[in-house]
Amino acid sequence: MEKTGALVVEDQAAAGALAGAERGPGSRSAPPRFWPLLLVGAAVVPGTVVILLGRWGDTPAVQAWRTVCLAVTVQALPFLLLGTALSGAINAFVPESVFSRVLPRRPALAVPVAGVAGVVLPGCECASVPVASSLIGRGVAPAAAFAFLLSAPAINPVVLTATAVAFPGNPAMVLARLLASLVTAVVMGWLWLRFGRTEWLRPTARHTGHRAGHSRWNEFRLGFQHDFLHAGGFLVLGAMAAATFNVAVPRSVLDTFTGTPWLSVLFLAALAVLLAVCSEADAFLAASLTGFPPVARLAFMVVGPMVDLKLIALQAGTFGRAFAVRFSAATVVVAVACSSLIGGVLL
């Protein structure tokens, strides 16, 4: 009853607003005829909306969604801060000549070097996107930066240790994960060299590096702040998408796909994309999926740190949508192929 009343008032308020708009600016001085109703509407509608939203927000499913969404965001924020701080520092403090001296001149050689260099960035995958973006801004070949972007979250010591802990007495799994991730990253870098087009990339004009006459510290702070706000927004977007799948798809669906090996590899790869579990934890989740063959679990761990919903959102925000769609799709294909091949040999 209360609800219908509010709706009626809302309708009338809308009608009044429309009428006001039609009358144009000339008659602005005359108050609309329904102004007491407008007042009542203004008083009742926001309250009703808040109460209804609050009641809807406390149903178990929505509560679970909010918890998961907030958990993904809170878990990723420290790593995103680390990544954006690093990216801001590279932009403001590291001169371009450093990268041209460290990396081989030929991009085809720079790709594997950058892939192996992923070992040095410990943490979740969210940190690597802003860092890769600032590397491109500092003159590093995009192919090399993308190899780094893909390998860093998958082969750093923290993740490999977690994998070893999750699969006790199974060092082949750690080795397979290391190799499959590294090969995928390098292959993707080379693919970009061969087929990639610069126009897919959004121009990264904000990483202009240090400019004369500006304080380095101020540049660092402004770059850090902008990158964090930008990437943080996309992180929230990705977390929402991941939480939706997390809550909407019950885990019992898993059991239906355990039968056929090929289907299970594809299914776990898709699951890794949708669940957006952070790369330090996915090994534990993979270890618990006992119904699946080891190759499928390897695919889960190789795809997860490279492509997932929150990463796609972050990449779309940083490099542009045209890039994110093509790159993520290609990465999934290469990652599934690599983990099937390497897993088939090693596991």
């Binding site: 878990q75 801060l81 004009a205 927004g233 019992s252 934890a281 996915d282």
Partner: protein, 249 residues
């Protein structure tokens, strides 16, 4: 652009993180205990960044700005990216509308977590009832072929109520995290013989193994005939499979 909004957003994010990690224990609803120092540090950094931005960037928004001139595609440091507004949702949610920890709803939609394969089981202590974790109970029922210590023993376990089993039974449940609430898994023990309390009530159950199948194999039900069910306080860090509170040294 309204420049003062950036510091406000940063400060709100920082305060939200500090609120859940430094001033309260709300962060335990979302992530693991070990994340606390990282969250406090992040909150402090964001707060400082926001304050610095509020103080240093004041009075810069008037007059021509060289960044505005060549930032033709709207990608300069001075403009706030529109997507950044989304950060307001988690910040405000952390500050004043923090959702509860995952519970019966999530557990009821998941198959029970697979317990690790074990072959050697320590003999159960002589105390009665024996305090146990839900995982330990599960693995002893389904894997302990030789000793079958569990048979006839009185057992004490703590978890929360997930109602909805067949014939008035319900599940004693724990939700376990590896990293954050997105990877939550649940361990469950079916409880017979005592009517279910409302969902998400924390209880300590005393009872004996509910016989069926062959003990020590997968056919044995992970279930308990309850003798006594007592309400208890929610544990401080609920996302782990720990012993009942009174049993801890």
């Amino acid at each position: 652009m309204k420049r003062f909004l950036q510091p406000v957003l940063l400060v709100l994010c920082g305060l939200g993180l500090l609120h859940v990690s430094l001033f309260t224990d709300l962060y335990l609803r979302y992530v693991k205990e070990g994340m606390r120092p990282l969250l406090i540090a992040s909150g402090a950094v964001l707060l400082l960044l926001g304050l610095a931005s509020a103080m240093l960037d004041k009075g810069q928004h008037e007059g021509p700005h060289d960044e505005e001139e060549h930032g033709g595609h709207g990608h300069n440091h001075s403009a706030m990216p529109r997507v950044a507004w989304l950060l307001l949702l988690p910040a405000l949610s952390l500050l004043c509308y923090a959702p509860p920890a995952l519970g019966a709803y999530t557990a009821s939609r998941q198959p029970p977590k697979a317990v690790p394969e074990e072959s050697d089981f320590d003999p159960l202590p002589a105390t009665s009832p024996v305090p146990m974790t839900l995982s330990d109970f599960t693995s002893r029922v389904q894997q302990d072929r030789e000793d079958q210590d569990i048979k006839g023993r009185s057992i004490l376990m703590t978890g929360f109520v997930t109602p909805g089993g067949p014939g008035g039974s319900w599940d004693l449940t724990r939700v376990i995290l590896n990293c954050c609430a997105a990877d939550a898994q649940s361990v469950k023990v079916r409880i017979y013989g005592d009517p279910a309390l409302p969902a998400n009530t924390w209880v300590t159950v005393t009872g004996t193994w509910h016989p069926g199948g062959k003990l020590g194999t997968r056919s044995a039900p992970v279930a308990l005939d309850a003798r006594r069910v007592e309400k208890v306080d929610r544990p401080w860090n609920a996302y782990q499979d720990s012993l009942p509170p009174e049993a801890r040294p």
